[in-house]
């Protein structure tokens, strides 16, 4: 299943949600709630750490797309930390791999942010 939301990761300097396990219909409403909470306070960009997630279906992906739209409206991005091949495959099939900012780990995200 999925872990409780993690507090914002100061090292990343962006509101961050870390999830684990299988992200399916049973988890999607919880995921939506947690992502909504990240935007409280006016954040434009967020990080969703899927390093420990093993499964992503269309309902959970739809929740991530909603967050993507929300961030874009604010001029921000949704960063996904993901290495799981099956999740990357889902993003590729749906043509969303270039819509999210994908990173293999937090260090890579930090490096890329540092270059901006």
């Amino acid at each position: 299943m999925t872990s409780p939301a993690q507090p914002a990761d100061g090292a990343l300097d962006l509101p961050t949600l870390e999830v684990e396990g299988e992200l399916d219909l049973a988890v999607a409403p919880w995921l939506r709630d947690q992502l909504d909470a990240l935007y409280v306070g006016g954040a434009d960009s967020i990080v969703v750490d899927l390093s420990r997630a093993t499964f992503l279906d269309s309902t959970a992906l739809g929740v991530l797309v909603s967050a993507l739209n929300r961030s874009r409206e604010r001029g921000g991005r949704v960063h996904l930390i993901v290495q799981e091949p099956q999740i990357l495959r889902v993003l590729t099939i749906t043509g969303l791999q270039d819509e999210f900012a994908l990173h293999k780990d937090r260090a890579e995200l930090q490096r890329r942010k540092g270059k901006q």
């Binding site: 919880w30 269309s58 739809g62 099939i93």
Partner: protein, 152 residues
């Protein structure tokens, strides 16, 4: 050939087998269908990627019905014929009181139109064929996946 005849025929040979499960309309239990998909995929000789794809595809069959209501059940029939797996998911009325179905959160917080569109994209890629139909007045979503196909 009627579905019942297919099942009877399947039981006559070890090259064909049928597994049926029926779950209450509860989102927490769809995982059981994924477990079953993984098992029968392995028995069909699927590789690990194909098994993952079948698990996801079976999950997406469930999504195709929209919110799961407590007064319904989902009945999955997995039919393996050699290296091909057929899955039919039928939404049918429940004889249980049922209290584990769609809560407000599931109905209200999921964009079902978006989920269905994403689901259709995924199924197109994950399996050999898939579709939906009405059979005996009940909604049915089905898929077929053959080893070595539909895993573009």
């Amino acid at each position: 050939m009627a579905h019942e005849e297919l099942i009877e025929g399947a039981l006559r040979t070890s090259e064909r087998e049928v597994i049926e499960i029926s779950i209450p309309g509860s989102v927490d239990l769809v995982v059981l269908a994924r477990f079953t998909a993984a098992t029968i995929g392995a028995r069909a000789g699927f590789d690990l990627d194909e098994i993952d794809d079948l698990r996801l595809a079976v999950d997406e069959l469930s999504v195709s019905f929209g919110p799961l209501e407590p007064e319904t059940r989902l009945r999955y029939t997995f039919l393996r014929e050699g290296d091909t797996v057929n899955v039919r998911c039928t939404r049918e009325p429940s004889e249980d009181d049922g209290d584990g179905g769609a809560g407000h959160s599931e109905r209200d917080l999921i964009d079902w139109q978006q989920a269905r569109e994403l689901s259709a994209q995924l199924l197109d890629e994950l399996v050999t064929t898939h579709g939906r139909e009405i059979a005996h007045g009940r909604s049915v979503a089905w898929l077929t996946k053959q080893r070595g196909e539909g895993t573009g």
